[in-house]
């Protein structure tokens, strides 16, 4: 019983990480239909931003305040990845809308450039980010079951990011403009919306959220220039399985992959578990090619 519960918690924890890395992609790929292979590198940028923030704190700020650096690091990661995303959109992506194959290749190239950039600045070996003291240890819920604070923190962080994204996309004026442009670009322009500005802001926000994911990932282990490549496939899998274009789809997608993956791995072993997850996903997409959550409406003619 305890083992099952612990597996469930692990599954939810894995789901939360999957969801965090996929949320940014849910915007750039889900809403904007840009196949952004450099998404993983934005995660990497967020991770290194956290690393730099930590270095800054250790050398400039009294040690007493070190514990707070992580909160600032989340914002810094978002900001840095946001700026990178913004620049990438106005310099490259905007020429590639509606050309999925070209954007796939071009963003992959950008990803390689960014990896090399990180290698040149920070060196090829992995670096470790020291988690703040208040995230060490865990919560003992019952005998033999300890839930690490880091994992709980990531789950909470995902919840906060998800809520913020929901409020932004579905409740704010900017979000309404965004959805209007993604659904009907031409008509949105005719109503007085600058589609160019909406495009670059949307892409930048998606990239910024990838940055937050990178920040969270520093809690799980050391980081390196090719960090993003480990996560890019998972991120696409979550968005495609969840259903393109709906935020809630990504939530179900991440939960599905995270929880089933954890249990498969527990029942078999790590590699067979992964294979089983892939098989289930492929079978599911044969049955429902549009993913878990699809948009239904009376068809427009």
């Amino acid at each position: 019983m305890e083992v099952q519960l612990l597996q469930l918690f692990n599954g939810i924890s894995v789901s939360s990480i999957l969801l965090l890395i996929a949320l940014g992609l849910a915007i750039t790929f889900g809403l904007m239909n840009v196949i952004n292979m450099a998404h993983g590198e934005f995660i990497m940028i967020g991770a290194y931003s956290t690393y730099v923030t930590q270095l800054f704190f250790t050398s400039n700020i009294p040690a007493d305040y070190f514990g707070y650096y992580f909160v600032l690091a989340i914002l810094v990661s978002f900001a840095v990845a946001f700026i990178f995303g913004f620049v990438l959109e106005i310099s490259l992506i905007r020429f590639l809308y509606g050309r999925p194959l070209d954007s796939l290749l071009a963003t992959w190239g950008v990803g390689l450039v960014l990896q090399q950039l990180a290698r040149s600045i920070f060196g090829a070996p992995n670096v470790a980010v020291q988690a703040p003291a208040w995230l060490n240890g865990g919560l003992e819920v019952m005998d033999g079951i300890i839930l690490p604070y880091k994992r709980l923190f990531i789950i909470a962080l995902v919840a906060v990011v998800l809520l913020a994204m929901y409020l932004f996309i579905y409740r704010s004026n900017a979000g309404r403009r965004m959805r209007a442009v993604m659904q009907n670009r031409e008509m949105a322009a005719c109503l007085g919306i600058s589609t160019r500005r909406v495009d670059s802001m949307t892409f930048a926000i998606g990239s910024g959220i990838a940055g937050i994911a990178g920040c969270a990932i520093t809690l799980l282990g050391s980081i390196g220039p090719s960090l993003g490549t480990y996560y890019i496939v998972d991120a696409f899998m979550v968005v495609v399985l969840g259903g393109v274009g709906k935020l809630i789809g990504s939530v179900f997608g991440a939960l599905g992959i995270g929880v089933t993956g954890t249990f498969f791995e527990y029942w078999t072993n790590a590699s067979i578990g992964k294979v089983l997850v892939f098989i289930v996903i492929i079978a599911f997409l044969q049955w429902k090619p549009k993913g878990l959550v699809t948009m239904r409406t009376r068809s427009l003619d």
Binding site: N173, R177, M187, A189, C190, G192, M295, T297, R298
Partner: protein, 231 residues
């Protein structure tokens, strides 16, 4: 108000409109008529800016807008009800209306009552998705959305096409009431000769991408109809 001078426009290499000039004066209702495929929609799109004019100029409010993007034209006060309505299907009716405010200067007060009052059926459907509405309801929503920004010039591209008669009547009444208020000029693409006769001040008839007849509405008689409009 609006003056189009020697416009040439089309899609890619093919040219649809050749040397078109027309004028809409403040408060006027100007009707654009013609058989199918002569370039009426292309002309409204060129005025709105979603199609770029290859040559010629478009002057609006004494300002040359030929090179402006559609959103800039909308902000200058041009409202647009496109053919096919172009409602945002995944957005609620209320959100669709609020998007109409994007071109407006004062957004704080919400969608003006003057836009909604004309379509009493809309408030009861605020939470429904735009795509779930029937064609006629969508048309009314598109109309109200265009009115939300209190435009000085309205481009209406066949607002009564493919809609049940009672709603056609409602929409015609709305156009009449806008004309009566007198502060919005209208360029109306319309097929119904009867309605044009009753509401327009001036008419243009397009044929093969060129204007072949024009005049004030009292010169619009059966011989014109027979020559240019009867199929």
């Amino acid at each position: 108000m609006l003056s189009v001078k020697h416009i040439e426009a089309g899609y890619g290499e093919s040219i649809i409109l050749r040397d078109i000039s027309l004028e809409v004066k403040p408060g006027q209702v100007v009707c654009l008529m013609g058989r199918n495929g002569v370039g009426k929609t292309t002309l409204t799109k060129t005025i709105m800016g979603t199609i770029k004019a290859k040559s010629g100029s478009i002057i609006y409010d004494e300002q040359n807008i030929t090179k402006l993007a559609p959103y800039e034209r909308a902000k200058l006060g041009i409202g647009y009800v496109p053919q096919g309505r172009e409602i945002f299907a995944q957005l609620s009716v209320q959100e669709n209306l609020l998007l109409g405010l994007e071109a407006s200067r004062d957004r704080k007060n919400g969608v003006p009552a003057s836009a909604i009052d004309k379509f009493p059926v809309l408030p009861s459907m605020y939470q429904r998705k735009g795509g779930d509405l029937s064609g006629g309801q969508q048309q009314q929503l598109a109309f109200a959305r265009a009115l939300a920004s209190k435009p000085k010039l309205l481009l209406l591209d066949e607002p009564t096409e493919g809609i049940q008669p009672s709603i056609v009547y409602d929409i015609q009444e709305v156009i009449r009431s806008i004309k009566q208020q007198g502060d919005t000029a209208i360029l109306l693409v319309e097929q119904s000769i009867e309605f044009v006769k009753s509401v327009a001040d001036y008419y243009y008839i397009l044929e093969k991408g060129a204007i072949v007849a024009e005049g004030s509405i009292d010169t619009f008689d059966d011989s014109v109809v027979r020559q240019h409009l009867v199929v």
